[in-house]
């Protein structure tokens, strides 16, 4: 197996050891802890009063439009990383190229700003 794939195998071992450690501790806890369920204990906590309606209540997600903006910006950031590693080779050309790119990106942010998307509605 190549060194490259072995690094990823190490990542798998790390995930496995996390699950193993948590499983081990939860297993020890299962041997020690009491288990006495009751109706009151199992109701959802709502500051001591009986819960009103469903737990999955509707709530207004005020910042869902941010999520769309986030997707745009995150994808742009992915494009910038390869450029950043090769900047020494591209020098002036790469700089101008990325300058235009970041300018367009900023333009998008200013547009969203002016449109009032970044306001708390």
């Amino acid at each position: 197996m190549s060194e490259f794939l072995r690094d990823y195998l190490t990542v798998v071992w790390f995930a496995a050891i996390a699950l193993l450690l948590a499983g081990l501790l939860l297993g020890i806890a299962a041997l020690l802890r009491p288990h006495k369920p009751s109706v009151e204990k199992n109701t959802a906590y709502e500051s001591g009063v009986n819960p009103v309606g469903d737990g999955w209540s509707q709530s207004q997600v005020r910042y869902y439009i941010f999520a769309l903006l986030f997707v745009v910006f995150d994808v742009e950031a992915v494009f910038m990383f390869p450029w950043a590693t090769q900047l020494e080779r591209y020098a002036g050309f790469g700089l101008v190229e990325m300058g235009v790119f970041v300018f367009v990106l900023l333009l998008g942010l200013v547009y969203a700003w002016r449109k009032g998307v970044l306001r708390w509605v």
Binding site: E3, R6, D7, Y8, T10, V11, W13, F14, A15, I17, A18, L19, L21, A22, L25, L26, A29, L32, R33, P34, H35, K36, V39, N42, T43, A44, Y45, E46, P51, G55, W56, S57, S59, Y63, F66, A67, L69, F70, F73, D74, A77, M80, F81, A84, T85, Q86, L87, A91, G92, G94, L95, M98, G99, V102, L105, L106, L109, W113, L118, W120
Partner: protein, 351 residues
């Protein structure tokens, strides 16, 4: 390869996994005892835990013993499978994150060429766990906490990515190991007495990174997802017993790992800021072998300092409002970090 000894693959893996466990639990324990128990108490003019061991130093073991005996309650209407899995997802995220941190020239777990990418990708998994916990609890407080956590990650992931980009431009690589060696062997405008720890040339990036880390860790002033005065305990409201403790351990372990990553990116990682050693950025073999022993100690020192700053801010500031949080990220941090990137690139090309 660890300590230049040729070990079979299974022994290497075993060493790495043991090292990783230590690298997760040691920062968590240190931060909780040193800062959460003691520093917070002294800042509030009280003594903190004093009974278990000298100066309460065995308090952590007492806490684990206590939590092991607590009943594991899952609410009646909860989505039980997701409810039980959520803390594990958060803990796995922490372990995956520590896998990328280099502790010495040969003392690393993984040596990814796209280490920075991996770090940014894996750090978002914990929010998935938080969202799972918030949704599956079937509790209004939890749901709101989970949604707030998602909104916060979205807002602060970007400044973090863009702040790291400044470091990548300066180093010209995404490999964390090379970033460390470069910081210790480079020069600032021809002056090589200090090496080039990027905190000096990327100070704006460092500040943005630390603010984003504070938000990603949901520490005060960015603790809206937990917000005990409005949401009881946010996404953790319905958790009890050891599952709650797993959330807690993961939170502080992640704080430690982020402090480690910040010291790798900005403080020169496992090196000290003097170019006494005559390192060569292109050749890790030019670094003395004993750095594998000293390196982890230097890393832990830097981790304690940075985690101390994170906790200091946490204990000092009141909570932001949700709209202030979003406004700060989108209208201040993102424009500033974009300008920072362009300035860094111009200076890099000019010199």
């Amino acid at each position: 390869m660890i300590l230049a000894v040729d070990l079979p693959y299974w022994a290497q893996s075993l060493l790495r996994v043991l090292g990783g466990t230590v690298a997760v639990l040691l920062p968590a324990g240190t931060i909780v005892y040193l800062f959460l128990f003691k520093m917070m108490s002294f800042m509030q003019s009280r003594l903190g835990p004093m009974e278990a061991g000298p100066y309460g130093s065995l308090q952590l073991f007492a806490e684990v013993g206590k939590w092991l005996q607590k009943e594991d309650i899952s609410p009646e209407h909860a989505d039980k499978r997701i409810f039980r899995a959520a803390p594990l997802v958060v803990l796995v995220s922490t372990f995956l994150l520590v896998a990328v941190v280099p502790f010495g020239p040969d003392a690393y777990f993984t040596d990814f060429d796209a280490g920075v990418f991996y770090m940014l990708a894996v750090s978002s998994i914990s929010t998935l766990g938080i969202l799972m916990a918030g949704w599956s609890s079937a509790n209004k407080y939890s749901l709101l906490g989970g949604l707030r956590a998602a909104g916060q990650l979205i807002a602060y992931e970007l400044p973090m990515v863009l702040a790291v980009l400044g470091v990548v431009i300066q180093a010209g690589t995404m490999n964390l190991q090379t970033i460390v060696v470069k910081q210790n062997s480079d020069a600032i405008f021809g002056f090589d007495g200090l090496g080039n720890p990027y905190i000096l040339t990327q100070f704006v990036g460092f500040m943005i990174f630390m603010i984003a880390v504070q938000a990603e860790l949901t520490q005060t002033p960015f603790d809206m997802p937990i917000a005990e005065s409005e949401l009881v305990s946010g996404y953790m409201t319905e958790y009890s017993g050891f599952r709650f403790l797993i959330f807690f351990i993961a939170e502080f372990a992640t704080a430690g790992v982020f402090a480690l990553i910040a010291s790798v990116l900005f403080l020169g990682g496992w090196g000290v800021p003097f170019s006494w050693f005559g390192w060569d950025a292109a050749d890790t073999g030019s670094i003395d072998n004993w750095m594998n022993i000293v390196g982890p100690l230097i890393m832990i020192t830097k981790m304690v300092v940075l985690a101390g700053i994170i906790m200091w801010v946490r204990f000092s500031y009141p909570r932001f409002r949700e709209d202030q949080l979003q406004r700060f990220a989108w209208k201040v941090l993102i424009p500033v970090s974009l300008v920072n990137i362009m300035l860094t690139a111009i200076l890099k090309v000019a010199f």
